[in-house]
Structures are given as C-alpha cells and as structure tokens.
C-alpha cells in the first residue's frame, strides 16, 4: 500500500505544474461551493478562494518551516510555478484584452476623475497605515498601498520594486479585505453615498476598482447598476499596475527616502 502511495506522490511531484492545476481547480471549486452554500453568494467565490490560498500558505509554512508557503511542500512545488510572477503577469495582462478606451471617454469626466482618485487615495491610505505599523521603507509602503488598491496591483507592484514575500502577502490580504468589504458593505452604504443611478455607479466603480467587489456590491444593491460600475472598474487594475511601480513608488520614496 505504501508503495502505491509513494508511486502516486512521485507522479504528482514529477508533474508539478499539472498537479497545481488540479489542486487549484479543486480549491476553487470548494471555495465557490462554500461561497454559494454558506454566504448565499454574498461573499464571492473568488474572495473565498484567495482567502483559502492564504490559509494554505500559512499551513505550508507551519508544516515545513519554509518561507514559500504551500510551495515548500514537495508535491505542491508546481503551485509556486503557477502562482509565480511570470504566469501571474501573463494572466493579468490578458485581462486587459477587449477593453476599449472609447468607453471610458463616453463615461465622462467623473468616471476618469474617479479612477485616478481611487488609485491615489487607496495608495496613500494603505501606505500611511503601513508606515504606522512599522513598515517604514518605501518599497513596503508602496506595496501595501498598492494592495489597498487591489490584490492584483499589490503583488504586481511588489514584485516590480523588489518587495519581500511577507510584504506581498500583506498586500494580497489588504486587497482581499477591501474586495470583501466592498462586496458585502455596499448595500448598507448605498443610500448614504447616493449610489442609485448609473452616474454614481460609474464613479463608484472607478473609486473602488476591485472588479469582483464592485460586481458583487452592485449586484446586491441594484443589479441594473452592475454594468456601469464594471465598466470603470475594468480600467482600475491596469491604471494601478501602471502608476504603482512608477509614480506612486517615486512619490513615496521621495517622501520617506
């Protein structure tokens, strides 16, 4: 029996990347199931899945004492490859496909202002919190600030400017908290912030930027508003990836040295 298990383990290790596809597929499937059953879809499956990823990384760290989360366990080495910077950037760049600049121009000045304001405000707030908690170097502040933008802008920025895995993990967590708060909290604040028409939905999408959060939050508020919020939110991650490891990094570096 042990030889059969050894043989299986050997096959899994030898085909690491494929094992990772299978494993991540199962994680995502379970997460969407949990999202649907336990939260009635209010907490989107993607958020549950990313949270599960962070928890698994913690477990990996406990089991191996290493610094690469689950990827330190031999049969999950492929997870490191699938979630590495190269594949990640490839997949994230692909999300820009089909985006049309004409749309944002038609959406008007408010939408464009909201995008820039959203990126800047999240960065600044995130970087200040990072500073307050002792992450006082420009690289960590920028990366955590980027995470407060979205959980994609965070790691992309962090990798580009050479942040540690620890700080990148924090940036993912910050973005995840934002995404979850936006998807669950929006219905409660919608009335206060005047989120009841297409124009404010456009602005809301540009300010929040987290596509899953915006889609979930608007769906729970008024499904008719989803396309408006989604339209501006689509541009947010690209803008964040452009400004994060450039303008924002230089500005924060100039301030803290």
């Amino acid at each position: 029996m042990t030889t059969v298990i050894d043989l299986l383990a050997e096959v899994l290790v030898r085909n690491g990347l494929i094992t990772a596809f299978l494993f991540v597929g199962i994680v995502v499937w379970i997460s969407y199931f949990v999202s649907g059953k336990l939260t009635g879809g209010r907490l989107h499956g993607s958020a549950v899945a990313i949270l599960t990823g962070l928890v698994l990384a913690y477990i990996g760290g406990v089991v191996t004492g290493g610094s690469q989360g689950l990827a330190d366990i031999e049969i999950f080495v492929g997870v490191g490859l699938l979630g590495g910077a190269m594949v990640r950037d490839f997949a994230i760049i692909a999300t820009a496909f089909g985006v049309q600049f004409d749309e944002i121009r038609k959406a008007g000045a408010g939408a464009i202002v909201s995008l820039f304001a959203g990126v800047f405000v999240s960065f600044i707030v995130g970087a200040m919190v990072a500073y307050a908690f002792g992450y006082t170097d420009a690289v960590s502040m920028t990366t955590i600030g980027a995470g407060a933008a979205t959980y994609i802008v965070g790691p992309v920025t962090g990798t580009a400017i050479g942040a540690s895995s620890e700080v990148i993990a924090l940036s993912i967590a910050a973005g995840l908290v934002k995404s979850m708060l936006v998807m669950t909290g929006t219905p409660f604040v919608a009335r206060v912030i005047g989120l009841n028409n297409p124009r404010s939905a456009l602005v809301y999408g540009g300010l929040m930027g987290t596509t899953s959060g915006v889609a979930g939050g608007l769906a729970a508020t008024d499904p008719k508003l989803v396309p408006y919020g989604a339209m501006t939110a689509t541009f947010y991650t690209g803008l964040g990836c452009l400004l994060g490891p450039s303008v924002m990094f230089f500005a924060i570096r100039a301030m803290v040295g």
Partner: protein, 132 residues
Amino acid sequence: MVIYGVALLAGCMIAGIFIGELLGKLIGVQANVGGVGIAMLLLILASDYLRRHGRLNPVSRQGIIFWSSIYIPVVVAMAAKQNVIAAIKGGPAALLAGALAVVASFALVPVISRIGDGRVVRLDDGSGEDRS
C-alpha cells in the same frame, strides 16, 4: 490559430516588461517601472487595432481569453506560495489598510459624482458656459 492570440499576449508582455526595465535603468532605480501596466496598454492598443482591421479572428482570441479567464486561479496559487507566517504579525496593518481604503473611497463617491453631474448638466443645457 489559438497560438496567434497567445503569441500576441506574449509579445505585449515581453515588450512591456522590457520597457519597464529600460525605464528603471534610465531613471536609476532597481525596479521594473510600470512594466505590467505598459503591457496591458499595449495589449489594448494592439487588440483594438487588429479588431478594427479585422485581423483577429475568434479562434485567435481564444488564446488570450483563456489566460484572462484563469487569472483568479493564478492569484489563488500566488496567495498560496507567500510567506504568510512572517506576515501574520502585520495582519492588523493589512486589515486596516484595506478597510480604511474602502471607507475613504466610499466617502468620495458622492463628491466625485457631483463633479461629473455638474459638467454634464452644463453640457446638456447648452448655455455656452464653457469650462475646459
């Protein structure tokens, strides 16, 4: 062919990352300056150009759409390979950074909605009160 889409995506990524590295060298920082964002920009421009000239057929598109639709699983894998143990002590920072960013952004919704509003109203009533 599907590979054409994948190759287009790859070309945009290589070009973007290369420009980012180049910018970093020029400015004198050890960073890839905006490379992924530049690559996204290139992909938007390239796919828009090809679409308008009818050069990107649905099969080729599949090569890009596949990668774009797999980004959440990739992010899950990315999360699973981080040094979360070391990050736990900074957990409150992450929570607060995310939460405060949301609060600040929520607060700006009515403010910026008003900016857009005013401008459009001004355009609509055609009173000629131009503000560029």
